[in-house]
């Protein structure tokens, strides 16, 4: 078990290294990071001096080493716009993004898992049909359109819920529902197909033949086995949610990392962008590591690989 865990940990470190390189490289995509960072009206002299001061004339690997060293200490430089350390700007907005992503995931799980189970158990009935259609619509809908439509309905038309900002639970409802719809749809479909597959297995038939009544069959035997792909998806979906929060936060003016990043890119404030991408990617890697550990408890066979 420990060897599996250490192996996964080492893999995660390698991935983190790769992530840091990509984040570093974004600034060098055009070949001259000085031109990217400076305003377009900077003189050739300013550009040259800036390049010297920032160390852009040093060898590529030296620059990367410097970046990596800084990143590991949490130093991504100063925000060009705000003058504060980029890392702090990002870090103080992480809780808001987590709150949003967490709420969205919670809504998704609470709605999707029961819906998927009921769909599978009551296959091909009206309720299955309805939930399948809704799930399909949910996966086909662009979230930002849903957000705008929800604002139109609940904020503009009926004045029920606020359309922007963060504060009370009411502020959380619309953004969380918007963000969570796609995930809800996805998990519903997966739960349904996972349950259907498990329910057709021999050991379920045996349990039923033995006379075990349906609820224990469904809950004890079927769900535990169907849980494995669901747990995997939760890990992946968290990444999707963290990314999807970018758009949702922009629409609802939610003060999270996503909104900060979009503004930073519009302002060409790349230290902030680098810090944000790096932190979010690190979070995703850690979550996946945790998911893998949970995995080994659900499926002991994994440990032996």
């Amino acid at each position: 078990m420990t060897t599996y865990f250490t192996r996964r940990l080492l893999q995660s470190l390698v991935v983190l290294l790769g992530v840091s390189f990509v984040v570093f490289f974004i600034l060098h995509l055009t070949g001259d990071p000085a031109l990217v960072l400076l305003p377009p009206d900077a003189s050739a002299d300013d550009v040259r001096r800036f390049r010297e001061a920032m160390g852009f004339n040093d060898p590529f690997l030296v620059q990367y080493g410097r970046f990596l060293g800084g990143a590991l200490r949490g130093d991504f430089g100063q925000s060009i716009r705000h003058g504060e350390p980029a890392f702090h700007l990002v870090a103080e907005r992480m809780p808001a993004t987590f709150e949003l992503a967490g709420a969205a995931l919670l809504i998704a799980l609470v709605l999707a898992i029961p819906a998927g189970i009921i769909s599978a158990v009551r296959r091909n009935t009206a309720i299955d049909y309805v939930s399948t259609v809704v799930a399909l619509l949910g996966q086909s809908m662009p979230t930002f359109w849903l957000g705008i439509m929800l604002i139109l309905l609940f904020s503009v038309q009926f004045h029920l819920l606020p359309s922007s900002g963060r504060g009370t639970v009411e502020h959380l409802v619309l953004p969380a529902v918007t963000l969570g719809l796609f995930t809800t749809a996805r998990i519903t479909r997966l739960t349904r197909s996972g349950m259907l597959e498990v329910l057709s297995q021999d050991y379920i038939r045996t349990a039923r033949a033995k006379g075990v009544s349906d609820p224990p069959v469904v809950w004890k035997h079927a769900l535990k086995n169907a849980a494995i792909p669901i747990v995997t998806i939760v890990g992946i979906e968290l990444g999707t949610l963290l990314g999807g929060a970018v758009i949702t936060e922009t629409i609802f003016a939610w003060p999270g990392v996503g909104r900060l990043s979009v503004q930073a890119i519009a302002n060409r404030d790349y230290p902030v962008v680098q810090a944000a991408v790096f932190l979010l990617a690190t979070t995703f890697i850690l979550v996946n590591l945790a998911v893998d550990v949970v995995y080994t408890y659900l499926d002991p066979r994994i440990r032996l690989r």
Binding site: I26, S140, M141, P142, W145, I148, M149, A281
Partner: protein, 303 residues
């Protein structure tokens, strides 16, 4: 006693594969949802291709006088009806929605081709050769997946500058992983099959085996992934256009129209509603068709 030499009737060399396609097509068409999806996609495609012919108005023609923000069904001074209303610059919404199908489908198709090719190559190599090559490629996949895609896309586009080509390349290059995984999985199971082993035993090189024996058999799951991925790409394109990072105004994009419409949400609901519906309908059609494709070809595909 001599056995009379009877000619064994063999199926025509061209007969068997032709019939196979027909069987498949018929089975696919029998699924009504898939058929519906295919029809919807065909309609969107025709609209995109024939937009200049079909559209009642010029999508770029501004009318800044008193034609701004008119509701659906409004009749203008010349007596022509604007079925979906006009936007904040007096442009006909229906025309813009129709022309907006062009960048959506173009990006969808081009990005899928790029990521599909990259993923196919990676999956084939990874699955067939295994070992260190597989390790390295899967590590690259993990790195790719660790990034919240939208954030990476806007960072890169922010540096390179927004344009149609940029978003195609950015989306295409970063979406290869799902193709690679499916192809890799398929190659794993194909590797051990008799026809592959036979080809190798007969002296075929790895390259030949990969191209002639393995590749044709992984195209099926690859196709399912490509179809469903196209839907995802279209949504991403509209998201990037929404943020102003796609095709630049005044060229109409569904995402761009949504961004404009958001500003006028309180006074002109139609500006944001119709482009969003266009995205929804297109993506739904592709998803229905893709699901049907998957269920017909291999229902157990975990896609």
């Amino acid at each position: 006693m001599s056995v009379p030499a009877t000619a064994i009737a063999l199926p025509e060399a061209t007969g068997a594969p032709r019939r196979e396609w027909l069987v498949f097509a018929r089975r696919l068409a029998a699924r009504r949802t898939a058929l519906f999806g295919a029809v919807v996609v065909a309609l969107v495609l025709v609209t995109a291709l024939a937009a200049p012919l079909l559209s009642p108005f010029d999508p770029l023609a501004q009318e800044l006088g008193d034609q701004r923000l008119k509701p659906p069904g409004w009749r203008d001074a010349a007596g022509r009806v604007h079925p979906l209303g006009t936007d904040h610059l007096g442009r006909d919404v229906l025309a813009r929605v129709m022309f907006g199908a062009r960048p959506a489908l173009l990006v969808g198709f081009a990005a899928v081709v790029i990521s599909g090719m990259l993923g196919l190559a990676a999956g084939l190599v990874s699955g067939y050769f295994g070992g260190r090559v597989d390790d390295v490629l899967m590590r690259l996949a993990d790195i790719q997946l660790a990034f919240p895609f939208i954030l990476l896309a806007i960072a890169v586009i922010g540096v390179l500058g927004p344009s149609l080509a940029t978003i195609i390349v950015v989306i295409g290059v970063s979406s290869w992983v799902v193709y690679a995984r499916i192809v890799r999985g398929a190659v794993f199971s194909l590797r051990e099959r008799e026809f592959v082993q036979a080809a190798l035993a007969l002296g075929s090189g790895d390259g030949r085996v990969l191209l002639r024996h393995v590749l044709p058999n992984v195209l099926t799951p690859w196709l399912v992934v490509a179809t469903l991925d196209m839907a995802r790409v279209i949504v991403i394109e509209s998201a990037l256009s929404f943020l102003g990072l796609g095709v630049q105004p005044p060229d109409p994009t569904w995402g761009g129209m949504l961004a404009d419409g958001r500003v006028y949400i309180t006074t002109a609901w139609w500006l944001a509603t119709f482009p969003g519906l266009a995205i929804l309908v297109t993506v739904l059609g592709i998803n229905l068709f893709g699901d049907g494709l998957r269920d017909t070809l291999d229902p157990r595909l975990k896609v």
